[in-house]
């Protein structure tokens, strides 16, 4: 079967069938990642540019490992070393990269819509590794992969997303993806950290965490950026953590064995208590592993435009 998409900009581009395809492909790569020799020749001769105009450790490393395990050549372009600091426009950077004829560009950028901007102009595949507050589709897919390993299916499950929703591309992508697959999504945040008009999203909202955790089958914590306090969106971190930190006591009110996810990096004691981060419910490291499987699957699908990975 062929893979119909050139670019991965937002999970809303994918059908439920596409998502299933990604998940099954990731399943098969999980097996490869457990081998002593974790490399297959599937993408030999393909080049992938990792264009990160915003600091990132885990996502970039995850893509880098994913590409290398498929034998693709990966090239990094970080903002500090790129012409962006010399004032080159995104258009010119993109055209320059494209002229080197890569098969895919993985882009992380502080501007919402930056991945769309590249995709409209370039022939190679564009994989969005996070654009502003807009979308982080590979994170949502790896979160889904993590939850499916636990539950099989997310349909009918209640997932609580906790924290800074307004400025979170992770939250936007998860709301769309989980909603599409039939999960109930609840948001918990102060109004200052919710998007405008959340009633237009397929979610319920609740400003009281003790109430919101009740009935939750899983909880996704989001990183609180410290600049939100400077922007006057919350009084101080102590008060934020009193109201919105996922503690063991609060977690106990969720459904039994509710897994806890976090896209990282975590602020211990701010949005997630240290004991919760280190508890058996915490799936944070599973998410990191899932990231490699899912990104291998995505690179495979977008670079070969075929779904069945070569066994090998």
């Amino acid at each position: 079967m062929s893979w119909p998409h050139k670019d991965l900009l937002c999970v809303s581009q994918l059908s439920a069938g596409d998502v299933e395809n990604v998940m099954r492909t990731a399943d098969s790569f999980q097996e490869i990642n457990a081998r002593p020799v974790k490399k297959v020749p599937t993408l030999r001769g393909k080049s992938v540019v990792l264009f990160f105009a915003e600091p990132s450790t885990r996502t970039k490393t995850s893509f880098d490992i994913a590409g290398k395990r498929l034998s693709a050549d990966t090239f990094s372009l970080a903002k500090s070393s790129s012409s962006l600091v010399k004032g080159e426009s995104l258009k010119d950077t993109a055209l320059t990269l494209a002229a080197m004829n890569p098969d895919a560009i993985v882009i992380r950028h502080p501007s919402s819509g930056a991945a769309d901007f590249l995709a409209r102009r370039l022939k190679c595949s564009i994989i969005n590794a996070g654009d502003g507050w807009h979308a982080h589709p590979t994170q949502a897919l790896l979160d889904l992969f993590t939850l499916r390993r636990i539950w099989g299916s997310v349909a009918g499950k209640t997932v609580l997303i906790l924290g800074d929703i307004a400025h979170s591309r992770v939250a936007r992508s998860n709301v769309l993806l989980l909603g599409m697959l039939g999960a109930n999504v609840k948001l918990c945040a102060p109004k200052t950290l919710l998007p405008a008009r959340p009633e237009s999203w397929p979610v319920t909202t609740c400003p009281d965490l003790d109430e919101a955790v009740e009935g939750a089958d899983a909880i996704m914590c989001l990183r609180l950026q410290l600049e939100r306090q400077q922007a006057g969106l919350l009084p101080n971190l102590r008060e934020y953590s009193r109201r919105f930190c996922l503690t063991a006591e609060r977690l106990a009110k969720a459904n039994p064995h509710a897994p806890v996810l976090h896209p990282g990096p975590i602020n211990r004691g701010v949005e997630i208590a240290s004991e919760v981060a280190d508890s058996v419910e915490s799936r944070i490291l599973d998410q990191v592993s899932a990231g490699v499987h899912v990104r291998m699957a995505l690179l495979h699908l977008y670079l070969t435009r075929r779904d069945a990975p070569a066994a090998g």
Binding site: S89, L90, K91, H109, S111, S112, G113, A114, D116, F117, D131, G132, W133, H134, A135, R169, R172, P195, A196, R197, P198, S200, W201
Partner: protein
């Protein structure tokens, strides 16, 4: 009637409902208007205008011509070319040039450029800066600016934060017969965001601006105008809240006037979908409910006029991620056809359109043709049935940044006369 030097024959007077007329002009002025007489011969040259609509020369109270300082976006010559082809006899250009028009020498330079490039018109009326360098700290020299030719003063684009200073500016300007034009935008509620706060901004992950950002400043200005009994003109109104505040202020006799722009009447925040930087404008495009309120406000007269807020930007400046793109829409080429769309849709009458595109001249004391003997012979011949596409080639503005680019428009200026002289 004295001897005419030009007769425009057989056009229908917009908004009159009357049959075709013959317009007699002499020495740059209207001599008289008579019922069309197909058989009558004239000594003077005659223009056969059967099938066309006769409009007064239009006035645009709000454009940015970018000269001096940003001539890659626009200059006085190209801006006036777009105005002329768009049917405008009078154009008021804002002060946010480089250097700022806070000094008579800058005003003089703008007027020189206009005289050199378009000696017969369209007429250019610069708007002076409200504060020195538009910094919002010290009043500009209004009397000197007025002597140099400015017809109003404004901090457009960089609203004055300090309400005390703004109040004093309004008072001081009123002594001189100058009207303050205010760009209403709260300095802290997401200034310059370029997208409405709402469904679309939430979905796109962009910081949006609530309508309250504008309405709060509209309320401030209405209260000040009423208290001071000094006029304030409210620029590019974009939302229902503002319309309602202005309606109430006018009922109570506050000396405020207001404008909106074709894009606020015809588009909504949906136009930004896909990170369309051509629809990034300040204030941002709002909702269909806001557009409906603006249409009704324009029809009822709460909103006095339509301006373009013509804000040209070069293609490369708009070809960026949304948050990096400058705000603004190039509007002079298309404003008449877009306002005509509202007439075609039944939202406005022809008389409403004439008022919307000419009353600015009354507000700011510019020449205006009401087709009475002695009025300036500023005339637009408008073809209401001509369908055309707003392509880059058709646009006379140097910059093609408009969300209406490559759309089909109906109705076009087929000729502009300023003081009896054919301009286009």
């Amino acid at each position: 009637m004295a001897a005419p030097d030009l007769v425009i024959r057989g056009a229908r007077l917009a908004g009159s409902g009357a049959p075709a007329v013959d317009l007699y002009l002499a020495h740059g002025r209207v001599l008289g208007l008579e019922t069309h007489d197909p058989g009558r011969a004239h000594d003077a040259p005659a223009v056969e205008a059967g099938g066309l609509l006769l409009l007064p020369g239009l006035t645009d109270c709000h454009v940015h011509l970018r000269e001096p300082g940003q001539e890659w976006k626009e200059d006085v010559a190209t801006g006036l070319a777009a105005a002329a082809h768009g049917g405008f006899a009078n154009v008021m250009c804002m002060a946010n040039t480089k250097p700022v028009n806070d000094d008579a020498s800058v005003t003089a330079l703008m007027l020189d450029k206009a005289r050199l490039s378009w000696p017969r018109g369209p007429r250019l009326f610069p708007v002076g800066a409200l504060t020195v360098k538009l910094k919002g700290e010290a009043l500009a020299a209004f009397a000197e600016l007025r002597e140099a030719g400015c017809k109003a003063v404004s901090n457009d684009g960089l609203p004055v934060h300090n309400t005390e200073l703004f109040r004093r500016a309004v008072e001081y300007a009123s002594d001189l017969g100058l009207i303050v034009i205010d760009h209403c935008e709260d300095p802290f509620l997401s200034p310059g965001a370029g997208i409405n706060e709402g469904l679309v901004s939430s979905a796109l992950g962009l910081r949006g601006q609530p309508t309250a950002s504008e309405a709060i400043q509209v309320a401030r200005d209405c209260l000040l105008a009423a208290y001071l009994q000094a006029p304030i003109h409210l620029a590019h109104i974009s939302c229902r809240q503002s319309v309602e505040i202005i309606a109430r202020a006018k009922e109570q006799g506050a000396p405020v006037t207001a404008e909106t722009c074709p894009h606020y009447l015809l588009l909504t925040e949906e136009a930004v979908t896909g990170y369309n930087t051509q629809a990034k404008v300040s204030p941002p495009l709002r909702t269909s409910d806001d557009a409906a309120a603006l249409r009704e406000g324009l029809r009822s007269g709460v909103i006095d006029i339509v301006s373009t807020d013509h804000a040209p930007h070069a293609a490369h400046e708009k070809e960026t991620p949304f948050d990096e793109a400058p705000n603004g829409i190039s509007g002079l080429d298309s404003a008449l056809a877009l306002t005509w769309r509202l007439v075609a849709e039944g939202a406005l009458s022809e008389a409403d359109l004439v008022r919307a595109l000419t009353k600015g001249a009354d507000i700011f004391g510019l020449p205006v043709n009401r087709f009475a003997p002695g009025d300036p012979a500023d005339v637009v011949l408008f073809d209401p049935n001509l369908t055309w596409t707003l392509t880059e080639q058709e646009m006379r503005s140097k910059s093609k940044n408009t969300p209406f680019l490559n759309t089909r428009l109906t109705g076009r200026c087929a000729g502009l006369y300023v003081a009896g002289k054919k301009i286009v």
